[in-house]
């Protein structure tokens, strides 16, 4: 069993982590898009039906569930009730979680931790978001809190991440047009990947000139530097590997790592951070790779689904997770390192770029693609026999964020 140390006030302790303690026995993902015809409850059912059939597990077999939804007020309402109602769960414990764009992965973390702890045998993690019913082109306007909103600017998500580009350019002395070209490549690659995914929202390849010439949303992010806005749901049914085998599974995907790093205000309020990278992205990545026992991410990770809310986010994340040298991510992107046929394919399903970002669902949608790829079920998108995949969610904004990184692998 792998062990890794942490220095704490109590002295050095050893945690064993959750590596290989929990198997995913079924996953489901709704079609993402402008789902004008249905409610969030319908999307939940659509995702759950697929996972249930995949796992051979009915709603009545679940011991507990975790429900992820961000804009609850604009869609399903607060609490765990919407999930319990939609699936008519048997009055089992259901917990609603919300942690900005990491919400879906947080739901999974809750279910995985509960199974790993032995508190339950079979748990469900389900995330949903019905963004299109809010009426907004992007994300609805939220509040950062009663005091903070009295002084912070009225930011938008593109504007928050656009700052990353300004600081990256300044820190690494990258010309504006070079970075813009690399950012365009990020989106170009994802559109190409998403075009062949039947569950993606935006299924159209877009050429580089169109991407570069698109209207500006928040300098330097143009329209195609921003991910789509859609409705969707995704879910996972998790259990212990031995139960998975009892359920008849022979090809087993286990959770290798599930880590989260949360800003404590130092990036936003202390001069030690230059704004050109994601501090918590690096931490979450290091912790997850350590938990998964990965020594070299570029050599061992076969594919990844990262939080490409904006093209610049994906580009910087390549550095934060160790897939490119600091300050060189833009070159690696332009060299095609993360294209479908590159060293480590990224967003092989089309990413947030093509799926859109129904917040509660996104982390689970990423896990879904990695799960399919690991089991060889990704159809036209299938990569040659991957064994280890990574997902990454970044919630909030570069200066104040929650970042989750998960690693999944085959463990037959």
């Amino acid at each position: 069993m792998r062990q890794y140390g942490l220095d704490t006030a109590l002295g050095e302790r050893f945690m064993t982590g959750i590596c290989d303690k929990v198997a995913i026995v079924g996953m489901g993902c709704s079609r993402f898009g402008e789902r004008w015809e249905c409610d969030a409850e319908d999307l939940m059912l659509e995702a759950f039906r697929e996972a249930s059939a995949d796992a051979g597990v009915e709603a009545g077999d679940l011991d507990a569930a975790w429900f992820g939804c961000y804009f609850d007020d604009a869609s399903v309402g607060k609490s765990a009730l919407p999930l319990a109602n939609a699936l008519r769960l048997k009055n089992i414990p259901v917990t609603r979680v919300e942690n900005m764009c990491a919400t879906g992965t947080e739901a999974l973390r809750g279910a995985v931790y509960a199974v790993a702890a032995g508190a339950c045998d079979i748990a469900l993690a389900l995330g949903v978001e019905k963004l299109k019913d809010t009426g907004y082109g992007g994300l609805p306007v939220g509040t950062p809190g009663a005091f903070t909103e009295q002084w912070r600017p009225n930011t938008s998500s593109p504007g928050s991440f656009a700052q990353l580009a300004s600081a990256y350019r300044a820190e690494h002395r990258v010309k504006g047009e070079d970075l813009k070209r690399a950012m365009a490549h990020v989106s170009w690659k994802s559109h190409k990947n998403g075009a062949i995914n039947p569950k993606a929202h935006l299924r159209r390849a877009v050429d580089l000139d169109t991407i570069i010439g698109a209207p500006m949303v928040a300098e330097p992010l143009g329209l195609f530097d921003c991910c789509g806005v859609s409705d969707g749901a995704a879910c996972a049914i998790v259990t212990r590997p031995e139960i998975a085998r009892e359920l008849g599974k022979t090809e087993i995907v286990t959770v290798k790592a599930l880590q989260l790093a949360v800003s404590n205000g130092s990036e936003a309020g202390h001069g030690g951070w230059n704004g050109s990278y994601i501090h918590c992205g690096r931490l979450a990545g290091q912790r997850a790779l350590e938990e998964a026992g990965v020594r070299s991410a570029p050599d061992e990770i076969d594919l990844m689904e990262v939080h490409d809310c904006f093209s610049i986010t994906e580009l910087v994340t390549m550095e934060d997770l160790g897939f490119a040298e600091e300050g060189q991510g833009w070159r690696a992107v332009l060299d095609g390192a993360f294209d479908r046929d590159g060293a480590t394919p990224c967003q092989i399903d089309g990413g947030l770029k093509c799926f859109g970002h129904p917040i509660g669902a996104s982390g689970l949608r990423m896990a879904y693609e990695v799960y399919l790829q690991l089991l060889g079920r990704a159809g036209d998108r299938q990569l040659p026999s991957p064994t280890l995949g990574l997902t990454h969610n970044l919630g909030g904004e570069p200066a104040r964020c929650v970042v989750s990184v998960a690693v999944f692998g085959r463990n037959d």
Binding site: F147, Q150, T155, A268
Partner: protein
């Protein structure tokens, strides 16, 4: 007089100068006669400015480099205060971090409120700050729209180090209603121009001049400069001639590049006059409304040093030409632009939260960690420095006057602002504080990482549903 003199004086005119030709071009279909007024430009507030913020800016310029500790009285004069019940003087006092024992007084209801405030302040003892500001609205296609401008000015009164002594004060009080604004009304209503000229200005102003000269025992020929209310230049020249003054003694009314600013206008012109005076010069300042107030000033030997300071202050906000008439209409609330769904977000302010954080929000107070000395905003009970995180009472550090710089930025066309794109990002202050803040007054092409900033007190959000507005500090390009 009380022995108080004018120790410092500063004017603030918003950088945005709307081309009067653009106003005329938009309205000529309705009133081609406006062509005669369509020369030069007028000052307009940015969307995040009002009388209160302009007052803060003028006062900061006036107090720059001085300890504000001695200021015990603050007068704010305006016919356009943002609140009918929430005194601007109190907010301004907190923005300037003046003492909580401050006597804060708002005066209004008259274009002459600034001069009245000055007279009241001169009667007291100890240092006093007299601020006047106005951002009067005008109906589209009205004469006032072309004539008015927005601006503010502040005077610091004190016993020591005066740049000008007050020699005499003289008043004529008469309910001459040349124009008025009913309570709750948006616009001024003005009577016929020739009548105002013949029975108002030509009767009242000579009376004021003669009265004060007699009181001071001075002859017209002794006057170096005459500051008259905003009146057509030909009329002021004629009045000077009638008084036996040379035309060059009449202070320019700044109608060409600013416009008539209302309550602050006598101060604005007084600053101009002092900037062009020499020690020993007599400057006569006249404010006109329901009669008038005349003040006779005598420049002292401290004037030349002030003149250098004043020139530097004027460079803080160089004029920026503006030709978008609809921008001005929108900023003035006269044109409901469609800014999309994001503009619908509720800007309600939780007042109990505001009260707990007044020092940070209004005074821009940060904190200094007692252990590692890291300066931070907002102040907190646990240090933000990741290598420290010590718990302890943080000493207050006032950040408003620190130089700043842009660490990261964006120009955001999605987030709501009345003046797209919304510019914001991380700003760093000289002492090391790091604040995510809005940037204002910055031409889009000028914005870059490393841009030097000066912090300014501005409107943060307007709650139009409840008639409230909140203020905070923003980064503006430093000269």
């Amino acid at each position: 007089m009380s022995g108080l003199g004018i120790v410092d004086a500063a004017a603030y005119v918003p950088a945005m100068r709307l081309d009067r030709g653009a106003i005329f071009a938009a309205n000529s279909w309705a009133n081609p006669a406006l062509r005669g007024l369509a020369r030069g430009s007028r000052s307009i507030c940015n969307w995040d400015e009002d009388s209160l913020t302009m007052g803060v800016e003028a006062a900061r310029r006036c107090l720059a480099g001085r300890s504000p500790d001695g200021v015990r009285r603050l007068y704010f004069a305006s016919t356009t205060p943002p609140f009918a019940d929430r005194q601007s003087a109190t907010v301004i006092g907190e923005a300037l971090n003046l003492s909580g024992q401050l006597a804060a007084v708002d005066l209004g209801n008259s274009r002459n409120a600034g001069m009245q405030a000055l007279c009241e302040a001169l009667r007291g003892d100890g240092q006093a700050l007299v601020i006047a500001a106005d951002a009067r609205r005008a109906k589209p296609a009205s004469v006032q729209e072309l004539q008015y401008g927005h601006g503010s000015a502040a005077l610091l009164l004190g016993r020591e180090g005066a740049i000008a002594d007050v020699v005499a004060e003289y008043r004529l009080t008469r309910d001459f209603v040349d124009q008025f604004r009913g309570s709750g009304e948006d616009f001024d209503y003005r009577w016929e121009e020739r009548w105002i000229r013949d029975r108002g200005l030509r009767e009242i102003i000579p009376g004021l001049v003669q009265g004060i000269l007699k009181k001071a025992g001075t002859a017209p020929g002794d006057l170096a400069r005459l500051v008259l209310p905003a009146a057509p230049p030909r009329m002021t020249a004629a009045m000077a001639k009638a008084l036996g003054l040379p035309p060059e003694a009449v202070q320019d009314g700044r109608l060409g590049d600013v416009g008539d600013t209302g309550a602050p206008h006598p101060f604005l012109l007084m600053v101009d006059a002092l900037a062009e005076s020499r020690p020993g010069d007599l400057v006569l300042v006249i404010g006109f409304a329901q009669g008038g107030i005349a003040l006779l000033l005598k420049a002292t030997g401290n004037l030349p040093r002030w003149q250098k300071r004043n020139a530097r202050r004027l460079a803080l906000s160089p004029p920026r030409p503006e030709s978008a008439y609809t921008k001005y209409l929108s900023f003035s609330g006269l044109l409901p632009m469609d800014f999309g769904m994001r503009a619908e977000a509720d800007a309600k302010t939780q007042l109990s939260v505001f009260d707990r954080h007044r020092a940070e929000l209004t005074g821009f107070a940060g904190g200094r960690c007692p252990v590692c000395n890291t300066v931070q905003f907002p102040r907190s009970s646990r240090c933000v420095n990741p290598d420290c995180n010590a718990e302890g009472e943080q000493e207050v550090v006032l950040l408003a006057d620190e130089p700043g710089a842009v660490t990261s930025f964006t120009q955001d066309w999605l987030a709501y602002t009345p003046h797209p794109p919304l510019q914001y990002g991380l700003a760093s202050t000289e002492s090391g504080a790091r604040v995510l803040m809005e940037f204002t007054e910055c031409p889009l092409k000028q914005m870059q990482v490393g841009l030097r900033l000066r912090f300014v007190f501005r409107i943060h959000a307007i709650d139009s549903q409840r008639g409230y507005r909140r203020y905070f500090w923003k980064g503006a390009p430093a000269p």
